[in-house]
Symmetry: C2
Subunit: 357 residues, 2 copies
DNA sequence: CTATTGAATGTTACCGGTACCATCAAAGGC
DNA sequence: GCCTTTGATGGTACCGGTAACATTCAATAG
């Protein structure tokens, strides 16, 4: 009793010191040891020192599992990410993770692979593990996921969108507006035949929204609506290159290309270079996300800067505040975006000529 | 008893069903419910169905925290990653995470920010949470980290290097050999003044090894040893561009540049384009990691392909085998690397001329 | 027909902490 | 000087499962 089993490398079982062992050695009650660790100032200095000595002597490592069970909180947040191989999700998570660390919380991670049913399984497991809160990427979830989280009153934050009906809280930006504004900017710069490359829109409302924003602007500004101007492709540089060849094959007169991801845009830009298509003179290219690479490309890439890290860390503080019982005034927080105009979408040559004359 | 507290959104406390509630409703003993969930075939079909009905009726969600405490295993692996904002670490982790998922294990994540003391804190927390195994990035750890893991006999796997004295197990490749081979290849192609850009080597034995491999090859093949050929910089495209300007300012005759990261190489390549330095005619550039972007650049980038995903997943299966008590024959697994020659390091113009004559 | 066996199920105690309440001595108030 | 308050510590039960062992009973063997 008071000693945990440890499977030693030699195969024999060793007992690990427990709080009762520490207490005995320090000549105090187990409860006092517990207090010394959780609320040091509630214990006298001498006792604290005796306990510290006993802990050092026994090599005691507190058992958070037992502590979690007893105190009914795990100091753990469950996070569902589509995949880590995705800079933007990684940045959200990084910001989030830092906010947690600052308050002693830890991150349990699950990959959904962009599949809502996968997310559902992970969330169920999170609930079984009694996480104190849940972080979800995006706003597309199964009905069961939503119900589980709500019925169990789990503080939850959804990242990257602005859902109309959040499960609990959300931090993000308007994907629709951002795409609309990029398209408007292109229209105002004089481009008329603007193509769109998005990644797959299935179960990904962010891409859906971006596509919708683009379409709305195309309509509002009277741009060319050829359906061949819109393509969904894998999040892959090579796929972007391939699709660019298709596009210029079908519509050689395309004058601008909006990609809902900077890597897609980079892939298209590289392919354009290979094809001898001058950017932006023959074709303007705009990206999305504001990754570091965008400003280093030649020409530098016009893009939408998303406050990725900030969204993550804001989500973290909101979630922890909620867990701590503080009132969260605003359930859906819009962190905005910023269009960064760069060389890849300079005013087109035709316009320049007109302006010059 | 048998009911857990749930803090309802309305503030009132609701009792959550426990295994005893399910048992009562199904008319069986709690133990039978536990068995029905863990070893269904050990329970008769009728009983199983009664229990399933009771679970559905109560909305029972098993409490893994209690289960973990009682069974003394958490089905959790703790992973320390320097940062998620790093494609290569993300790929390792992704492969690892998939291997875990296949066997029902979950991932607890901690960021060390490349600081060994940060890692130490995280590992201590992992031990307190009684993770079943630990995943560490790299082979640079504090003495205390090593001691904690060994004394507690925690199955551990170190990723990305081939440590001489692994804490327990390791999966990686020889960073030294890879860098040596790239440098040799450049030497054999006729380059004599080969520069090196690495990221910071402090507490990062992978970069140290790569730099050492480069230096060994420089020596073995009689290349120019000007110390100004070696630079350590941030993992940042812009920093690479800046450093390239410094380099060509100091040594305009540099004929090749080896970067120990593909993004660094890309940054250098973009800057070269801006400076009017032709690649590979004026300057050859080689990268490291084998990221997707490498093959899409213009010219496409020579690089070292690391089996990132495979390293992660192999590490996962090794760790779980070890936890399952299977013997792991090989403690340090070398997953190799592959040099991919592409356009950015074609034979230099001077050599081409000679060859042609 | 009784002993043996094994599948299905039950009983009990325990995993290692902490919530909650009790106790007790010293300090402070009037 | 007596009562209340405060700080330090202790005792006990309990968190919600499961390990280990016990029990029951029908099927099979001898």
């Amino acid at each position: 009793m008071g000693m945990e089993n440890v499977s030693g490398s030699s195969g024999r079982r060793v007992k690990r010191a427990g709080i009762r062992d520490v207490a005995r050695l320090a000549g105090v009650a187990p409860m006092t040891v517990s207090r010394a660790l959780s609320f040091p100032h509630r214990v006298s200095i001498e006792t604290r020192e005796k306990i510290a000595a006993a802990i050092a002597a026994t090599g005691y490592i507190p058992n958070r599992v037992a502590s979690n069970l007893s105190s009914n909180q795990t100091m753990t947040i469950g996070a569902v990410i589509p995949t880590l191989r995705n800079s933007i999700a990684a940045d959200f998570t990084e910001g989030f993770s830092r906010a947690l660390k600052a308050r002693g919380y830890h991150l349990l991670l699950g990959n959904s692979d962009f599949i809502p049913e996968g997310e559902e399984t992970i969330v169920a497991e999170f609930l079984a593990r009694r996480v104190d809160g849940v972080y979800l990427t995006g706003a597309t979830h199964t009905a069961k996921t939503r119900k589980m989280l709500r019925d169990n009153a789990i503080p939850t934050v959804e990242i990257a969108s602005l859902p109309e009906d959040p499960i609990d809280m959300a931090v993000g930006f308007s994907n629709f507006d951002a795409a609309y504004e990029v398209t408007r900017m292109l229209a105002e710069q004089g481009y008329r035949r603007v193509a769109l490359f998005t990644t797959f829109t299935k179960d990904n409302e962010r891409q859906v929204e971006r596509q919708a924003g683009y379409r709305a602007a195309v309509r509002d500004f009277g741009l060319d609506t050829d359906p061949r101007f819109v393509a969904e492709l894998e999040m892959d540089l090579k796929a972007a290159g391939r699709q660019l060849r298709v596009l210029v094959g079908e519509r050689p007169d395309v004058d601008a290309l909006f990609c809902t991801g900077d890597f897609i845009a980079a892939g298209a830009l590289f392919e354009a270079q290979r094809l001898g298509i001058r950017v932006p003179d023959d074709l303007a290219i705009a990206g999305f996300e504001g990754l570091e690479i965008a400003e280093n490309l030649n020409p530098s890439l016009t893009t939408v800067r998303i406050p990725r890290f900030e969204i993550g860390s804001r989500a973290g503080t909101m979630l922890l505040d909620r867990i701590a019982g503080k009132d969260v005034e605003q359930r859906v927080v819009d962190m905005g975006f910023e269009i960064i105009k760069r060389g890849s979408t300079a005013t087109p040559a035709t316009l320049r000529r007109e302006t010059a004359s």
